[in-house]
Subunit: 335 residues, 2 copies
């Protein structure tokens, strides 16, 4: 049998299509009796609204785009981002929104155009590269956006309590007796500057002065960049006794490099990460790191985005900070 449309129901019920539409969409000017009849009939006939028709007329798709750009090319394999996306998806679905990936812009001029073509009601931006023209253009477009792990003025962001996280890690290291602490930090972004200030706060509280060559920039999620930074650090006249990595994934590069240099963790050098992905907890020694609550971040950002979509006028931009947790492993030695 053909696909059931609103017209089929209207015939069966002896009412007009307009009435059916209203009955199904909870309009007030339909009597209880006909509403029930129509709903029952729709059920019986396995009626399924036509998303395209609805979208065409209402100009909303109940679709959320996810822009996920991963410069390092490891795809969805980043556990942290995967976690965020996955839980955002779940949350969105609860409100009847589906997820469409806007990762690529092939065939369209840009992300914005891709979103417009698919009429995404809103977009979640999870990216490694917020500086790209395409992302900028998207953020400045008419499409509601929520941004993960980055701050754009006048837009809502969701991120971890980065200051706290990095502060906690630093404090922990200091508590273990470390004074010569190196920080391999990510490229300059709003997140990085927060982590830096957490770091400096902790240091200055303890009266510790960090030499300049202990601070090295290395791209997030890029093990080889962190490997190189690690090498540089350990080559210094006075190498650090502890290294903070931009993230757990990057730490893998450091780990390998230390292996190559025949240095063992934590005997020769202590390390901490950031993210608390599953991976970090199965390494030996277990990595001491700051857990970012990816599920919560995803959930909150979906909620915020949907709220923004559905209350365009009243909704205001917010910067939402989600608490994480210090995970203590065995990667830091007492000295």
């Amino acid at each position: 049998m053909r696909v059931i449309t609103i017209k089929d129901i209207s015939k069966k019920c002896g009412v007009s299509p307009a009435t059916v539409s209203k009955a199904l969409n909870g309009y007030g000017d339909i009597s209880e009796a006909t509403r029930e009849l129509i709903q029952k009939t729709a059920q019986e006939m396995h009626y399924l609204p036509n998303a395209a028709a609805r979208q065409l007329k209402t100009n909303t798709s109940h679709n959320i785009g996810i822009v996920y750009v991963d410069q390092t090319g490891s795809g969805l394999a980043h556990e942290y981002f995967s976690g965020v996306i996955d839980s955002a998806k779940e949350e969105a679905e609860k409100s009847g929104y589906d997820i469409t990936f806007i990762s690529s812009s092939i065939g369209y001029g840009s992300y914005v155009e891709h979103c417009r073509y698919r009429k995404c009601d809103g977009v979640l931006i999870v990216s490694d590269d917020f500086m790209s023209r395409q992302v900028q253009e998207l953020v400045n477009s008419e499409i509601p956006t929520v941004i993960i792990d980055y701050i754009f003025d006048g837009h809502s962001s969701v991120l971890s309590k980065n200051v706290d996280g990095s502060y906690a890690l630093t404090k922990y290291l200091i508590g273990k007796g470390h004074r010569k602490i190196a920080f391999i930090h990510g490229e300059t972004t709003s997140v990085t500057s927060k982590r830096l200030s957490g770091f400096y706060n902790a240091c200055s509280e303890e009266g510790i002065k960090i030499p300049e060559d202990y601070m090295i920039e290395a791209r997030y999620h890029d093990p080889s960049a962190s490997a190189e930074a690690t090498r540089k650090l350990m080559m210094l006249r006075t190498p650090p006794t502890a290294i903070m990595y931009p993230d757990d994934y990057s730490y893998l590069g450091g780990m390998m490099e230390l292996e190559r240099l025949n240095l063992s963790i934590p005997e020769d050098v202590s390390v901490v990460g950031f993210d608390g992905i599953h991976l970090s907890q199965v390494l030996r020694p277990k990595l001491t790191t700051y857990y970012q609550d990816a599920p919560k971040i995803g959930k909150i950002s979906a909620k915020k985005l949907i709220h923004t979509i559905e209350h365009k006028k009243t909704s205001v931009a917010e910067e939402l900070e989600i608490p994480g947790k210090l995970l203590i492993g065995g990667s830091v030695a007492q000295i």
Copy 2:
């Protein structure tokens, strides 16, 4: 300014909307001159077709659904599945297909209904649970499907060369002198039976008889199931010298359990996994495992699905086997 429609272009060019549509879609009955004019104008005006309108009329969405069910609840965090999905996405986008997640059926009766509502031209099924009614229903629907890691009669599947993989692993163990090999294998599925036959082939070639209690079923991607199985195995009067795990992720459970039992790898017991996810290669010792070419699997399945969609009548169901690779780590001892 408003969104540009085909009508705006038609006005500007002094032709009918019909002509514009045809010019833009490569119909033959349009003169070169007008076609060029129209295309240029469309460019200039930043025309973007309305996906909904097109979909409504043509009844195709250029949208591919991905059903990803993850019973274990770890979401997209499974690196293998993430890899498959990610590369399928990339491939699909090359052909102008977008990806919509059909993971949930909340708000719809079922996956099929969800797909029908969004008018997915086809569906990629990546699941932990192919026995579920919903998946069955979807596979038996009118919607073209390609299935990852499972075989449904009359449908296309893409999977690794499981027989070879498990054969290679077993052979490797035997080559290292192992005779007492236990196999913690996944639940009964087409994939599992292939892996079992690869295993038995290798064993019988070498004249090795595996006792029944060396064969334990444990759910795929369930570390705790594998942990329990590991415990059982090591409690046997004559425990195995080597254990094969259903997959790398499950191995983590085994790893922890062996740690708890104070057994070291590979000195006390040798282990191998299956999947070759990144994780397995940063563990120490590095896990010996069979790498499944997730990117290739994703790519091929997207290709096959799109081909099926675009050549419904001529396309035939295929079972595509993608070769993987034995990754030799340090988790197997010579005895």
